[in-house]
Amino acid sequence: MSDTVSHVAHHFDDADQQREASTLGMWVFLVTEIMFFGGIFTAYVVYRSDYPGIFAHASNYLDVRLGTTNTIVLITSSLTMALAVYGAQSGNRSMLVRCLILTMLLGSVFLGIKGFEYWHKFHEHLVPGPHFRFPGPDSGNAELFFSLYFAMTGLHALHMIIGLGILTVLTVKARRGVYGRSYHTPVEITGLYWHFVDIVWIFLFPLLYLVGRHGG
């Protein structure tokens, strides 16, 4: 028990209370994140209800194979993150470190594929701005779709990059043996953040990639 007690700050009764306070605090932050992404999701809903046809048409210029692959990659990274937390909770340091590294690898693969998609869009002149050229009709509203696409996926990718930074710090500390059965709150709340970013993508994928697949 002595090693448990050393991690408890003086204003908490015990380690459980401290851990639950941290989890709750992380959730309060994630609620602000829900509202932050909520604003741009609302913008998407408003404009899609105004221009359903052109949103469906413009969506078909995204690569559904790459989108699906990235969805699978991100879901798998959520699994490895959950297993990293399991490793920490059960005091299995090598499992923790291996799963953290796997999560970072999968996160990097996601960003690599995303980067390739962005590069492709630049190449096809589908990036909003002076060089935007849409081969179909109603170019202005298609540009609106791509503005939302880059804003939503860009903010999501930024969250992933921040997540990779946090995971790097966690991995270094985990290798030193900082986290174990009695103290692993940083691993747990980083997991909450990583899963939240996964959830954002779970909604972005159908809204951006799948809107116009039927009756294309």
Partner: protein, 100 residues
Amino acid sequence: MSEEHLVPKSVYFAVFAALLALTALTTGVAFIDLGRLNAVVALTIAVVKAILVILFFMHVYYGQRFTWVVVGGGFFWLGVLILFTMSDVLSRGWLGFPGK
């Protein structure tokens, strides 16, 4: 205050399998023309996936009641944001204005 719950690994693998299956389902269904139902089905599947992640990967299912309140409150306000905005946007043409 509850003791920390160690979620069995089998739960994580089951949730992972469900998430993969639902991803395959949503992608497949997107290519079938269901009219207005396409959007409903896609969003329903996304919500189910999100709930699975929140309850099991994020341990809310095993967590304290107060976490449920905070998480539920967050999504309630997201609903308010979208529903109230859309009730304005969609009803704008309903009433005529004198001189317009």
